[in-house]
């Protein structure tokens, strides 16, 4: 392609735009390395002073230890991993059945599933809350995990599409070999699905990580806090010491960015393919 001036203009535009999207994160990181004295200076100091001092990571140490973010991060990783595992199990099972099996009520189930994507969580949260309350599951991780181990609209949809695309000969070979349904699922189809399953795992992990409403409602004990909740309470509890708050924000965002960096191809591609189907 010719490198015309349009090309360069475009490139510059893209870089500017990308900067506009990344800039807040950079600012967040920069400010997380500021000392208490410098964080509230007018006009704002651009150079993070702590970064070049001996205690570069003092804010982070503070947040991790004193304010227990280390514990919260661990909690979040634990909960989100489990939830994501639940999703891959449940959605692959359901997706497989919807793609390849025959049963009455298949269409209804699928339609209901899609419909649930449209309903805002606020409509169902109050009765859901009440159910968990009555079960006595407050202050446990069960309310956060059980739903993930039961149904997942997006994941099921994605896997149904995937399983429908698996080449027919594989299926035929299975029939000829006389496998039963479980073997068909476990031995033949599931191994094909490593890529979408991995994508689903990551997406489910991310969604759980960023969820605020449910952890906030169900968890009161500090030790059980998840990162997003801890962060939102930080403002109320410990005064807005912005340098610490931003350090905490960075901590809450870094695990996801790392995961995202490694898997962005999969995530972006799955978004794109869902768009095409739409």
């Amino acid at each position: 392609m010719k490198r015309t001036s349009t090309y360069y203009i475009r490139l510059i535009l893209i870089i500017l735009v990308a900067f506009f999207y990344v800039f807040p994160f950079l600012w967040m990181i920069a400010n997380s390395f500021m000392s208490d004295k410098n964080i509230l200076s007018v006009p704002p100091k651009i150079i993070p002073d702590l970064l070049f001092s001996k205690n570069a990571f003092s804010n982070y140490k503070s947040v991790l230890v004193q304010y227990n973010f280390g514990r919260y991060t661990f909690n979040s990783i634990w909960v989100c991993t489990l939830a994501a595992l639940g999703q891959i199990i449940v959605c692959s099972l359901a997706g497989f059945a919807l793609a390849l099996m025959h049963f009455r009520g298949k269409n209804i189930t699928f339609s209901l599933l899609l419909l649930t994507l449209m309903i805002p969580v606020q409509v169902t949260i109050i009765p859901e809350y009440y159910i968990f309350m009555k079960l006595g599951w407050m202050d446990t991780y069960l309310p956060l995990l059980i739903p993930s181990f039961l149904a997942g609209a997006f994941g099921t949809f994605m896997l149904k599409e995937f399983f429908s695309q698996v080449p027919r000969p594989l299926f035929d070979a299975g029939i000829i070999d006389g496998v039963n349904s479980y073997q068909m699922f476990l031995r033949i189809y599931l191994p094909q699905a490593i890529s979408p399953l991995a994508t689903l795992f990551i997406i489910a992990f991310m969604n759980n990580w960023n969820d605020l409403l449910r952890p906030m409602l169900y968890i009161s004990k500090r030790d059980l806090y998840l990162v997003t909740v801890a962060l939102s309470q930080f403002q109320n509890q410990y005064g807005v010491r912005w340098n610490l708050l931003l350090a905490g924000s960075v901590l809450s965002v870094i695990p996801l960015i790392v995961v995202f960096a490694f898997s962005q191809r999969y995530i972006i591609e799955s978004t794109m393919s869902s768009g095409i189907k739409g």
């Binding site: 390849l100 025959h102 039961l150 409403l213 995202f260």
Partner: protein, 295 residues
């Protein structure tokens, strides 16, 4: 559609596969939808049993000035969000649809806010837009202007939060539009170019019409997503100042879990459901109309 023309399994098997999903749907979707409906006719403060009060909550809503504001805020938020996200998403997709070295890096950069938690986004922007110490304030000051109170001014708060939500999610819509763009047969564009069409003409006469199905898909999901503003409002304004950034979604939380008026909150939740439903139906008809008129 199933691939397999015949039933190759026992009758009961699919039900075993789908059992968790069905249970989940039942317990966490269907039952709550009905119970929410019932609850909306009660008064319940979580301390004792719910009391049936008929249409009381709905009547209160109709008479409440605050509720009217919440309703218009929700409409305004959705409008800003849908229009903003679609315009920005499309514009970004067109911009990014080019083979440059490192394009995937820029793409990922724009997608980054999508995967970040709204709480972190809210906190950072609170800091950036804050009075006196925020960098935006300082830029305004250095130019000799007074910085607007982005989040404390009732006239600005809602639009600020809505715009930030657009900023956050635009990467997602960009990707979907990008997929749509890349699915367009390039030959058509090439022959148009040969025939002398300039960039604008080919965009509006060829690209856009071929993008229609993607367009409506994005329209549908932006409408649905425009109601997912709880986290950002919580992190930034908590519905304030004086209800200016309160939407139906946040109001449900406020009434149920801050004021302990669970019955009233359920009524609001139902209005929200009706709202979403109406918009979805509207979307459906617009789509039908457009597709019909294009054919």
């Amino acid at each position: 559609m199933t691939q397999t023309p015949f039933r190759w399994h026992r009758r009961i098997t699919p039900w075993i596969f789908i059992l968790p999903t069905v249970i989940g749907l039942l317990i966490f979707r269907l039952i709550p939808i009905f119970s929410s409906f019932y609850l909306s006719f009660t008064e319940w403060n979580l301390l004792r049993k719910a009391q049936f009060i008929g249409l009381g909550n709905y009547v209160e809503m109709m008479k409440s000035r605050e509720f009217l504001m919440t309703l218009t805020n929700t409409l305004q938020f959705s409008l800003v969000y849908v229009v903003g996200s679609m315009a920005l998403g499309l514009a970004l997709a067109v911009l990014i649809d080019v083979q440059i070295k490192g394009i995937s890096l820029y793409r990922a950069a724009i997608y980054l806010p999508v995967v970040t938690s709204a709480v972190a986004v809210g906190i950072v922007w609170n800091w950036i837009l804050g009075p006196t110490y925020g960098i935006v304030s300082n830029i305004f000051e250095s130019l000799g202007l007074t910085a607007p109170y982005w989040l404390s001014d009732p006239k600005l708060a809602l639009n600020t939060v809505a715009s930030l939500q657009v900023w956050k999610m635009s990467g997602y819509y960009m990707i979907i539009f990008l997929a749509g763009l890349q699915a367009i047969n390039k030959d058509v564009l090439e022959s148009a170019r040969i025939d002398g069409a300039n960039a604008f003409q080919s965009f509006f006469r060829i690209t856009l019409p071929m993008l229609m199905s993607t367009f409506f898909f994005v329209l549908t999901i932006t409408i649905i997503d425009s109601f997912k503003n709880f986290e950002l409002i919580y992190a930034m304004t908590k519905g304030g100042p004086q209800n200016a950034s309160n939407t139906l979604v946040y109001d449900v939380y406020l009434n149920a879990f801050v004021f302990y008026r669970v019955g009233y909150a359920s009524a609001i939740a139902y209005i929200l459901l009706v709202f979403v439903g109406l918009l979805t139906i509207l979307n459906f008809f617009i789509k039908k109309y457009f597709v019909y008129s294009l054919d």
